[in-house]
Amino acid sequence: MQRLPAPRPHQPSFLEDAMNHASGPADDRLTHRSWFSRWMKRPELGAVAGLLLVTVFFMLTADPVMFSLAGLVNFLTPAAQLGILALGAALLMIGGEFDLSIGSMIAFAGLIFSTAIVIFELPLVLAVLLTLLVVAVIGCVNAWIVISTGLPSFIVTLAFLFMLRGLSLVGLKWATGGSTQLRGVTEAVQDSSLLWLFNGKAFTGWFAFMGEHGLIPRFPNGVPMITGIPVEICWFVGLTALATWVLLRTPLGNWIFASGGDATAAKNSGVMVRNVKTGLFVFAALCAGLVAIITVLDSGSTDARRGFQKEFEAIIAAVIGGCLLTGGYGSAVGAFLGSIIFGMVMIGLTYTRIDQDWYLVFLGAMLLVAVLFNNTIRKRVTGER
């Protein structure tokens, strides 16, 4: 057994030593850390490994057209619609709450939007504003109930899941006189000036140019396979950038993390948890409203099943992207990547020879493998345990 004599003031050798260390420029209590492992520590970048794996899988098994420009746009479009929702869900989850009603809210917002346009013949801008206003109010109500009663948001928003879905049905029947499908939106809005914001494709000029110069693949009869980038992809990318910026670079972001990490501690430190959470509920609702507007304009119709189970898929995408269900941890980029993984797996099967009966088995296995893979890689790289 090691037993040193008690050190005395005139034996300061190791004390000196310690102090020298303490004042040295690099901390001796850190091993070297590569920028790579530093990066992999970020919640969002865990999902990168999963995305790579899924991409490689489809590269090997799917029709190569999947990764042509047209194929990319094809699977990125649903991924973007899901992704916009997932962003709202992810921010809310980071803030420590759930919103299960966003799926039904798509149907409800779709109802409001289409009736505004088709039945009340409002101009597009007014219809959009009205829709967003309505969903924002619903978001506020959700938030208010959750915050003022202290009930789990799971159960409160679940009630709204049912109620909004039911109201969409009732409303649709009322608006159409008995059907559950309302059509005719496309015709009603076709010459609105702001339509390009929510419908169609962006950068069409550019794509036309590329098409002319043979940079875009064509169908056998010569028609170019894509004519532009669907506007939802632009929204998706823009909102991801915005959410990332807010989370990482603004005080509000700090408050969101704090509210989700420990609401009591955050409140005791002076964070206005109520306002933050209300804002997040409204943001999630607005995302749902935006998706509703985009899909209604895209399909020209709405029905009572729109957005069915989308809340679930949005949460899945956020979790794949590294958000914790318990709150306080996650990222917008993670939700972005998670949505792409999910969208790719969902549409990718079409490009393979796998039988549709195996779709769900395949979806589940892909999810599991992707998540396990990114988890393993991250641990390997960061040395975490």
């Binding site: 670079r249 005080p251 700090n254 990490g261 005791n268 430190s269 002076g270 306080g328």
Partner: protein, 266 residues
């Protein structure tokens, strides 16, 4: 001990006959207390006496079930800790109020982030925040490895230092410290006591909760002892000795037999 500030007529904060019940549990049954500018008022008492509950009513965490609170002589009802902060009351809670998953810097500035830029481009100035955090922690005697380390991975004492440094850094008229030195090392404790002394000289009122009589005697101007939700009384430094204080803190019950070897004060 320098400058045992003479209490001025108008206390910064005064609490009158505060009561607090949790369901059927009575935590406080009528506690009165005041704090003046430039003094360090020690709040002492046995475990479970109600000290933390009391300062939590003062910092807006709990709403008292009875009693009134006066800030600068005006009656106020605090709705949230943020209101208390705006009224100039900064608190280091016993449970520290930190988010384990967040980095040291983000915890340090939680709720009061420094920004740069303007309008919609106003953003959290992380670089400056990191610098301040490292510097303030160094002042407390803690050398952080990196300001991005998650608070959850800090040692108990390191974490406590973050909480104290945070409260002190932002300045306040009343600084409440709930057992700030409990997990601290020798050096850090000395730093905290020195800090209390320093801010007191800047006319801040400090409320200092501790179980260590020696710490209390080192910096306290007045001493209030709580017992089972009631005050046993308030005394100034000149009126009381360490032994008397110790006896009061133990509610007068018999101490275990090791007493002698501890030299009277624990």
């Amino acid at each position: 001990m320098t400058a045992a500030a003479q209490p001025q007529p108008q206390p910064l904060v005064e609490m009158r006959a505060i009561e607090k019940r949790f369901g059927n549990i009575i935590a406080l049954s009528g506690v009165s207390f005041s704090i003046h500018a430039g003094e360090c008022h020690c709040l002492l008492g046995d475990n479970g006496a109600g000290k933390s509950t009391f300062i939590k009513t003062m910092s807006g965490v709990h709403k008292p079930s009875g009693g009134t609170m006066l800030v600068n002589g005006a009656e106020v009802v605090l709705e949230s800790p943020r209101q208390a902060m705006n009224a100039g009351i900064a608190t280091v809670f016993q449970d520290l109020a930190m988010i384990p998953l967040m980095s040291v810097t983000r915890n340090f500035f939680m709720g009061r982030e420094p920004t740069k830029g303007w309008g919609p481009f106003k953003r959290f100035d992380i670089r400056q925040a990191n610098q301040v955090t490292m510097a303030e922690m160094q002042r407390m005697g803690i050398r952080l490895r990196e300001p991005e380390q998650a608070v959850g991975t800090l040692s108990g004492g390191e974490r406590q230092c973050v909480a104290i440094a945070r409260a002190v850094y932002f300045g306040a008229k009343v600084l409440i410290l709930d057992e700030p030195t409990s997990a601290l090392g020798v050096r850090q404790t000395a730093n905290v006591l020195a800090t209390i002394d320093r801010v007191r000289k800047l006319d801040v009122g400090v409320i200092f909760i501790t179980h260590n009589v020696r710490h209390a005697m080192a910096v306290g101007n007045r001493f209030t002892v709580l017992d089972r939700g009631r005050t046993l009384g308030t005394a100034t430094r000149s009126e009381i000795t360490a032994e008397q204080l110790q006896n009061l803190m133990a509610s007068g019950q018999e101490l275990a037999t090791l007493d002698g070897s501890l030299g009277g004060t624990v």
